[in-house]
């Protein structure tokens, strides 16, 4: 079994390395000290199982989990996070609480080996848990987009608009476009509703970027952005904008 260890603390990685060393059939293919390295290593080396710490600099464990594919099984590792624990329990995901005994470690490992959930179902559970843990405190402050082994971090405030396209969404920010595998409704639920408004079935708009709103037809309008981009506004969307923008 090919395994990766992701934790920003060398000593914490050492505990896992020590426990894993007792298993002849396990090969540790990567040890990563931060989320960016983890996404890259997982994409390139395709481990079957990842021990993933939650508290890490710049990209936390949940963000890494959302960025990697559905084939990888995960065991989350955390010192203390009551919200995350609830999310894990709710979605039947395995986790280890630091400090943990070798017995507890063996239990989690056995459970991961026996994992029989369909990849799509598992990924849905991971994403749901990540969203619940991430939005417990505040709206999403940034959006992460994976491009092969590379990760783009877009501050929410810099996003101009988001357009739905089949199974993807196109995020427009600072003159560039990014494709992300997610639904518009999911992202809408995560972003600050005082800033981002669903002005159309296919568009989520940052109201800070609006220059003006023009009537397009008798029943519809169009929002003109600072760079002259035109975003269609439905009747319902127009009502929302009137409430927020005045």
């Amino acid at each position: 079994m090919r395994v990766a260890i992701v934790d920003d603390e060398a000593l914490a990685r050492g505990v896992l390395r020590e426990y894993l060393a007792r298993h002849d059939d396990i090969e540790i293919v990567a040890e990563c000290a931060n989320g960016f390295d983890a996404v890259k290593a997982i994409a390139e080396l395709a481990p079957e199982l990842v021990f993933l710490d939650i508290q890490m600099p710049r990209l936390d464990g949940f963000e890494v989990a959302e960025l990697i594919g559905a084939k990888t099984r995960l065991i989350f590792v955390t010192a203390y996070d009551q919200y995350a624990l609830k999310a894990f329990e709710c979605h039947a995901l395995d986790y280890l609480l630091k400090p943990y005994s070798e017995q507890r470690f063996e239990q989690a490992l056995a459970h991961a080996r026996a994992q029989r959930r369909a990849p799509a179902q598992l990924q849905a559970a991971v994403h749901a848990a990540a969203r619940e843990a991430a939005t417990r405190a505040a709206p999403l402050a940034r959006v992460l987009i994976r491009d092969g082994a590379k990760v783009h971090v877009i501050a929410s405030a810099r996003i101009d608009y988001i357009e739905a396209q089949d199974d993807y969404i196109r995020i427009r920010a600072e003159g560039k476009s990014y494709l992300k595998s997610q639904t518009l409704a999911e992202l809408e639920a995560q972003l600050d509703p005082a800033k981002f408004v669903r002005v159309h079935r296919s568009y989520l708009l940052n109201i800070d970027g609006i220059c003006r709103i023009e009537a397009a037809t008798k029943d519809s309008h169009v929002a003109i952005l600072r760079d002259d981009t035109r975003i269609p506004v439905s009747k319902a969307g127009y009502q929302k904008l009137k409430v927020l923008v005045g």
């Binding site: 060398a10 000593l11 505990v15 600099p57 710049r58 010192a79 203390y80 630091k98 400090p99 940034r142």
Partner: protein, 358 residues
Amino acid sequence: MSGPLSKRRGAVVVFLVCIALGLALASILARVAHAPWLNAVLLVAPATLVYAIGTGFSAFYLCRAYPLNKRQPAAIAGVLAVAALFAGLLWATLLQFLNSVSLLLEVSWLGVHLAQSLLALFFGLGVLLYCLAAAVHYLLLEFVRAKTAEQRGLEAQLVAQEAQLRMLRTQIDPHFLFNSLNSISALTSIDAAGARQMTLQLASFFRQSLSMEAHKKITVEQELVLIRHFLDIEQVRFGERLQVALAVDDAALACLLPPMLIQPLVENAVKHGICGLTDGGRITLAVRRAGSLLQIEVRNPVDVDQGPAGGNGVGLENVRQRLAGAYGHEAGVHWARRGDAFEVTISMPAQTGDTEEQ
């Protein structure tokens, strides 16, 4: 006035006052009405006693029912005026009645010739004495209220401070404890001596923080011992990622400050600074005394991609409140983010054991 002893003493005092008052009034009566002394005493003393008891209870309940600070002054004056008139009338009537009964008995040492002018005089005295009794009651009530308020204020202050420190203790991030234990777990197999050392550091940190009392100040030197334990522990976790620079005036070491005022700032610097940086950075703590001011500065690098330091707010606001509680306007805390650094500065009066005010 509380407790049986106080009540008994109070009763004795009241009784003695009544006796004195009765004798004084009897003296007045004897002189004005040219009546025998014995006759005057036997008439006035019982009446005075009854009057005093009735007046005492009446004034007591009216004063409590009409507190000075809760009712209209006009209403208070009106009620007391009516009560005083009734008291005076009651007393004059009582004297008249007792005297009439005494005269009917036709005993030489009972009864006094009471003119209408004398009754009017006693009526007036009754009214005045009632007013005096009411005034005394109000004074006593106010005295008791002020004493109770002061006591309650002190107790509330103490409770608030204890609650604040209790909250502060829980604000020590649970991650700190569990991550530290995890590091010790790792060290047991690769560096047994290191594991023992870290265990002792952790024990020292918690023993010292748990032993502090909210309302007792400690020296900068004592706070620094706690901070050094904390940083030594975090150093094991973060290794080279955590750099520390301490710059402390010798003159500042003896200065007093509320316990665990600086430690949360250092913890914030680790949690929201070093933790968020892949390469870590340097935390700088400077404590200096400038004349009558003690200045504390904590600085740490932050991730430039990170949004406004949201997580720092609660801890810093708590520090601000504690400073306001301890020093009023003489102390202040300011924080700002400059580029890739976050900085917190505290100014407060430089007090030592010699100048301790509390």
